[in-house]
């Protein structure tokens, strides 16, 4: 009897883990699947100042993306290219493509609360962690899975654990909490203002808040998203960096 019970528990546990993995995978694909082109704004807020950037972004899955900055004037024409784990930068004033060295990967991206590394690391959510459903939550009146991500022993991530909240119906990632190993909440990500972009339903606003400092946050606002546009891997090239509009 004991053996059967333990087997049953293991089965459920594994099933749980399988489910959690699937849920996250689906959420990820919902957000990022296939090719897309988005227009958005990123607002960086600090206690004494704030700055808003207007951005156009193209992406193919998780591995390839372009970010083109259109405003403010000083940054207009700046392009970031991501190819798998590498990031390249183009500045119109300089007219040269520069690869960002590891020393710059940990610096904040354009002064925001995201690091260059965050742009590269997103796909690791699936690979570097084990996933487990630990409960249910209600966010924006939507029932969500409360999933805990625990870093695998060898994973090169700084977090102790991550909690992420995925909408049960539409697999929208509505929030994430990043903890260090002592259990302190270091970063928080909250999504809101859910609406339709074409045929997809997505949150149009995402706020990233580092909790160590007061009055600091970065706000992403999606203005429009086009899906399944006609681009492939060759589109994401260094030569194209100069031609983006």
């Amino acid at each position: 009897m004991k053996k059967l019970l333990s087997f049953f528990i293991v089965f459920v546990f594994q099933a749980n883990a399988q489910d959690a993995y699937q849920i996250i995978k689906q959420a990820d694909e919902h957000l990022r699947g296939g090719s897309q082109k988005a227009v958005m704004s990123i607002e960086v807020q600090r206690p004494k100042w704030s700055r808003t950037m207007e951005i156009k972004a193209w992406s193919l899955g998780n591995d390839y993306s372009f970010i083109l900055i259109n405003a403010p004037a000083r940054d207009k024409g700046t392009v970031f290219l991501k190819r798998e784990k590498e990031i390249w930068n183009w500045q119109p004033k300089i007219e040269k493509v520069i690869k960002l060295p590891p020393s710059m990967m940990m610096q904040s991206w354009m002064g925001s609360d995201f690091t260059n590394d965050d742009l590269v690391k997103e796909s690791s959510i699936l690979l570097d962690y084990t996933h487990e459903i630990i409960g249910d939550t209600l966010i924006l009146n939507r029932a969500c899975y409360n999933i805990q991500l625990t870093p695998k022993p060898e994973a090169a991530v700084v977090w102790g654990k991550i909690k992420t909240f995925i909408d049960k119906n539409d697999f929208l990632q509505l929030g994430s909490e990043f903890y260090d190993e002592d259990g302190y909440l270091i970063n928080k990500m909250e999504a809101s203002e859910i609406r339709f972009f074409g045929s997809k339903i997505l949150p149009s606003k995402m706020v990233m808040t580092p909790l160590e400092e007061e009055g600091q946050m970065t706000i992403l606002l999606y203005k429009s998203i086009e899906y399944n546009i006609d681009i492939d891997e060759t589109f994401f090239s260094k030569q194209n960096m100069k031609r983006l509009r």
Binding site: K99, P102, M106, Q107, E154, V158, W159, D180
Partner: protein, 405 residues
């Protein structure tokens, strides 16, 4: 002549007090000279030893192109042959191979640029004293994977402690970006806080696994004693073609020249000490001569001629020096013997020492030639110092001298 000598000898022991003072001055002068020399050399040698043991080692070997830009693709050729060569050399005590990478270390709240030093822990222990500088944790004694040692200053900056997780990010030989998670296994503190902030230590095996290549960038060699470095260096230069081999003087030239700078200082100080000594002796002897004017006047009155009086006084001084000089050298030698074992604790006079790579205890050392040198110098100077008072003695008028009450 013999009479003068006899009188001179007896005079010394006739007035023990006076003689004692002059002998003591000589003894003190020699002792002081020996002590100061030994102290300075001890101080310097300590500094050099400290640097060699903590960072520089006796000899460092790199790929010829490596030190231009520290490009990690320039690894040492044939490390196995290298190790065999080291093993075979009787004058080499120990060696350590290291991989070096420039990268970033990150914690949840902060990142910092660091030099990542990959070590073979057993080898490294024999070559540097890093393992002695741990304030917390252990020197890679852990079953956990990917242990890392970081400096206290850095741990504070990143807000991590023992067993915290950190991520190292760097580039491999093909400029791909590599990262790995490491656990803080030990926290160290050296005298140089900038060093602590900028260097972290991991095991070579872990580093090689991450970059999937086995290259080493630096080999450090320690000989049994610093005198063997030169011969080991020339042997290695013959046996290892195609590598840059540097001794500690080239790696840290400021150490090499510290000796020379110190010698200039020492020379200056010794001159001052000798001059002080000479004037002290002149004064003492002048006093002595005038204290004896009755006696000397008496001698001159009964017929001793002036040159004999001069010789008498000089001879007395000679005897005093002959007694004083060996005593001084002996005392000096004893002091050095004693203090070179127990050391001189400098914390009575200053606190800033540990931060600059010195323990508070200095062990004086001196080359034998200096004993001889100091002894002879003081001996000579004493005789020279005695000339003036002796001459003054000649000016005494016998009649006046007798009359003084």
């Amino acid at each position: 002549m013999m009479t003068t000598v006899k009188i001179a000898w007896r005079n010394i022991w006739r007035t023990p007090m006076r003689s004692l003072i002059v002998i003591s001055s000589i003894v003190l002068g020699i002792w002081a000279g020996i002590f100061v020399i030994a102290f300075c050399y001890g101080l310097n040698s300590q500094r050099t030893m400290n640097r060699i043991e903590s960072a520089v080692s006796h000899i460092q070997i790199h790929h010829p192109e490596y030190e231009k830009d520290f490009d990690s693709k320039f690894t040492i050729e044939n490390p196995i042959t290298l190790e065999k060569t080291f093993e075979a050399d009787p004058e080499i005590k120990s060696y350590a191979l290291r991989s070096l990478q420039l990268g970033m270390i990150s914690s949840p709240i902060k990142s910092n640029g660091v030099q990542i030093i990959g070590v073979n822990k057993a080898q490294e222990k024999e070559v540097t004293n890093l393992y002695k500088n741990l304030t917390k944790g252990s020197y890679f004694e852990t079953k956990r994977k990917n242990p890392i040692l970081i400096g206290e200053v850095l741990a504070k900056k990143l807000n991590v402690r023992l067993r915290s997780k950190v991520v190292l990010t760097f580039q491999d030989n093909e400029n791909n970006i590599i990262s790995g998670a490491f656990r803080v296994c030990g926290i160290f503190k050296t005298q140089f806080s900038k060093y602590d902030e900028g260097n972290v230590f991991i095991q070579n095996s872990d580093l090689h696994r991450l970059i999937q290549s086995e290259g080493y960038h630096q080999a450090a060699v320690l000989c049994y004693s610093i005198e063997q470095v030169e011969s080991v260096l020339s042997r290695l230069e013959n046996q290892l073609k195609g590598a840059t081999i540097k001794d500690w003087k080239k790696v840290a030239p400021e150490l090499a020249y510290a000796d020379e700078v110190m010698e200039t200082w020492l020379f200056l100080i010794m001159i001052i000490i000798m001059l002080t000594l000479i004037f002290g002796i002149i004064n003492t002897m002048l006093m002595a001569v005038f204290e004896r004017r009755k006696e000397l006047g008496m001698l001159m009155a009964i017929g001793m001629n002036k040159s004999k009086v001069f010789t008498l006084i000089l001879m007395e001084t000679l005897f005093l020096s002959l007694v004083g000089a060996p005593t001084g050298m002996l005392l000096g030698a004893l002091t050095i013997q004693l203090t070179s074992e127990t050391g001189i604790d400098l914390s009575i006079v200053g606190d800033g020492l540990q931060s600059v790579g010195l323990s508070n205890i200095i062990y004086p050392i001196i080359e034998p030639k200096f004993y001889f040198l100091t002894g002879v110098l003081v001996f000579l100077f004493t005789l020279i110092a005695a000339i003036y008072p002796s001459k003054k003695a000649l000016r005494l008028k016998p009649t006046e001298a007798i009359r003084t009450i």
